[in-house]
Amino acid sequence: MPHPPLVIDADSIRDRSFLYWLSVHYGHKVLPVIAYVESGLYFARKGGPVDDEDAVEERLQKFDDILRRAGVLVFPLNRAEVRNAVKSAVLVEGLPWAEHKMDHMIAGYAAIAPRVVVTRNKKHFEKMIPPDRLMDPYEVMDAWP
């Protein structure tokens, strides 16, 4: 049986061991564009001083290289996925849009079965994604060693 598509949250993509696992795991591995922005920002800032555009560009090239070599694809949201994100923001209580934009957008992308959300913050998604399609990076690595 093929592995389900993995939808990766920004907090998981910066985990070294998970990145290594991704590189040896063949399958559909997606970083939604909103998670790319968040993790790219983190990667650019954490790698040392980035005081000009060239330095930021260099950091982002390295980040892209890591994603490419791990076989991770950056996907935009299509119309159905964006609609799912809106539904999530409207219908899920306790996760206001202002603070949880990224969660709702990732959930919007992952709402379509059999996509699995990979996140360290399962609590943020448990009202939006069924438990069998919500895993943290370590559960994923254990499920498909």
Partner: protein, 310 residues
């Protein structure tokens, strides 16, 4: 067509009308849910028969893993995909399907061609293989047709309940060789795929000489086909009326797909070399293993970046 010139147009009357008519003729229920394969193939046949003349429906489509298929994101808004049954994708129509403003020769042409298609291929599961065959007859590359026949030969062996191990390797080896020899290796778009042809050919030929090597040979060919198809859909002969941004999106993915495939193949070959020592003497297999090792070392260096955790 010039790249980027195509925009998704929800009001494109002939494409919307043709999509609706296929579902009206082949679909069921209020949403006219239609078997996804039937829809893709009927639209492809219709587009082919109407040609690029004044009655063209300008179908956004590309050749991919299962043959010619419509590009979903560029179809009219009223067309939707239903995934409620995980084993079968269906296509449906959202809305009334009123085309009172659409008339004239184009409508007549669409109606009469679709009537012929539905007569030739009455909706149902038993015509799907024939439809796929009909569509494959105009695939842009001979390699695609040869690969489909090759898959058929493997399926026949499985379908007739002949256990892989007992099947005669001699039956398959010439077909595999002829198929891989027909790979369009001079096409620039397939350059990254072409580099994998020699190790795949060497490996499958060695595997097919062994009684227990046919199943891994088949799996290796299917993986290769999948990798090829990611490139195929970006080739100018394998897509039409595709939005420029869609093509760009597909092209952007190719490098990540290459690393993913290189890793998969490298790991599989390492395991197969243990089971089939003859693979160790193949130069092209050794070269591929060396590229994989190099890519792995480079990746491990990248993982030392201080921004990463764990």
């Amino acid at each position: 067509m010039k790249r980027g010139a195509v925009q998704r147009n929800p009001l494109s009357p002939s494409l919307a009308y043709a999509s609706f008519r296929v579902m009206e003729l082949a679909g069921e229920g209020r949403d006219r849910l239609t078997n996804g394969i039937y829809f893709h193939k009927a639209m492809s046949l219709l587009h082919r028969r109407l040609g690029r003349g004044p009655s063209s429906i300008h179908l956004p489509h590309c050749w991919y893993f299962y043959g010619d298929e419509v590009i979903r994101s560029a179809m009219p808004y009223s067309v939707f995909w239903d995934h409620s049954d995980e084993t079968l994708t269906r296509v449906g129509w959202r809305g009334s399907g009123s085309f009172s403003n659409f008339s004239g020769p184009a409508k007549y042409e669409i109606d009469s061609q679709l009537e012929e298609i539905v007569q030739e291929f009455p909706p149902g599961n038993d015509v799907l293989t024939q439809m796929i065959d009909a569509v494959y007859s105009y695939a842009p590359f001979d390699f695609q047709r040869k690969f489909r026949s090759l898959k058929g030969e493997f399926y026949d062996l499985v379908g007739s309940r002949v256990v892989f191990e007992e099947a005669t390797p001699l039956l398959l080896r010439p077909t595999v060789s002829a198929t891989l020899s027909s790979f369009p290796r001079n096409e620039v778009v397939f350059q990254a795929v072409t580099t994998f042809v020699p190790p795949i050919q060497a490996t499958t030929e060695i595997l097919l000489e062994s009684n227990s090597g046919q199943k891994p040979a088949y799996e290796m060919l299917i993986d290769f086909w999948e990798f090829f198809c990611y490139h195929l859909r970006t080739h100018h002969r394998a897509n039409e009326d595709a939005p420029g941004e869609t093509l760009q999106f597909w092209e952007e993915q190719l490098d990540a797909r290459r690393f993913d495939y290189l890793g998969l193949l490298g790991r599989k070959l390492t395991e197969l070399q243990r089971r089939f020592p003859a693979l160790q003497s193949s130069d092209s297999v050794s070269e591929l293993s060396a590229s994989w090792s190099e890519a792995t070392s480079e990746f491990n260096e990248l993982l030392k970046d201080p921004a990463l955790e764990g």
